[in-house]
Symmetry: C2
Subunit: 233 residues, 2 copies
């Protein structure tokens, strides 16, 4: 059958907003753009969707290419479609946000893409509309992490409660009461206490926990509000 008439075709790309957490700060993985225009400027990792791929597949491919990782948390965020967002040629971008364990990445780091982790407080100026994409991704991360046990994806398989609390405090740029925080996360029954401790950050050491993966999958949609209720105005 014949093609659709009188319509313009355009390029379709994916761009990935990749979050990591190094124990102290939330970070974003950016690359130096390898092609014109804007070659050399910082940008999100992206690429064109190939003929046999859907956007999810393209995002997975690109993420694997950059980090070597598979099986990471990846979620479609938003599609950016301004007619002039790429000055060379009309390109629509389907954005994804990814959460990775930054330590796994370090092992597999490839220099090929001139990639670098930037703390969210020090994001450089980005090409095109990538800053807007990052902004939206941050908002979605905060939104979603308040309702679902998402942030575990940023931690190693074994983590401690102080690490977890620190991560939440970074994401929400606030601090929580230790006792209330512990009680809340443990009440989900999602965490399994291990026998060993992390001695890295204190003399006493903090017990490791692991996710209970059965519960994790089953209860992903019914987590709880980590954010304390704001005082009534």
């Amino acid at each position: 059958m014949t093609k659709y008439q009188n319509q313009t075709r355009l390029l379709a790309a994916v761009d990935c907003i990749i979050f990591g957490f190094d124990g102290n700060a939330l970070k974003l993985l950016l690359v130096q753009r390898a092609i014109q225009p804007e070659k050399g400027r910082w940008s999100l990792m992206g690429g064109f969707i190939q003929p046999a791929e859907d956007a999810d597949t393209a995002a997975l491919r690109i993420l694997k290419k950059l980090t070597g990782l598979e099986g990471v948390y990846l979620e479609q965020l938003h599609t950016f479609s301004g007619p002039h967002r790429d000055p060379i040629e009309r390109t629509l971008s389907v954005t994804y946000f990814a959460l990775i364990d930054i330590h796994q990445y370090e092992k597999q780091l490839s220099d090929e893409y001139h990639a670098e982790w930037f703390p969210l407080t020090e994001i450089p100026s980005l090409i095109f509309d990538h800053s807007e994409m990052v902004k939206m991704a941050r908002e979605k991360l905060r939104y979603k992490a308040a309702l679902h046990p998402l942030l575990f994806e940023l931690l190693p398989k074994k983590f401690t409660l102080p690490q977890l609390q620190n991560l939440y405090e970074c994401v929400y740029d606030t601090s929580f009461d230790k006792r209330n925080f512990t009680r809340k996360v443990l009440s989900t029954r999602l965490l399994v206490k291990q026998k060993d401790k992390d001695k890295g950050s204190s003399k006493k050491g903090a017990f490791f926990y692991k996710l209970d993966n059965r519960h994790y999958k089953a209860h992903f949609h019914s987590f709880l509000n980590i954010i304390p209720n704001p005082p009534i105005k």
Copy 2:
């Protein structure tokens, strides 16, 4: 500057999942497809993104074309990008979901598109991946309406508490306790009681309410959980 080399271009469309509520059931506005392939089958209202448009603009245009309405609630949902989702030619679809006051629509109805409202329980077989789009839109509606005062968009400017409760009961396919429901929605301070009553559905009549638009915009992100907490397993 020269175009990107060795990349394939494709068509980009938008498709709108349009919800309405007639007082008894949630409905979806579908059209009979006017072009080949699949001409005559039921489908979501959609169209190609034009050269000067971004996807939001295209969705607004298409919604206006079909319903005559402007200023309706419209939100980008998801982008569908399977390489073979349209058998004629690769087409990527950015989907939007819209909430409209079904009564406003009826006044402006145009027969041009062979549009019809279908109760969500009686959706016919749809072309391409449109059924999947509808499924995702329903899930998002339920998800989001539990957290934000979204469903007011489906009601007339003046509505009654029983109407509102009925709408929530339709969306969640359940029933709520009247007293608790009333207390919850009134506690948001989003509703302003009117002096007049709707005598349409009872002898006593139910007071009309209006949204307090200042509060509505300001507190959209901090609504409350309408869904009762599920019993602990």
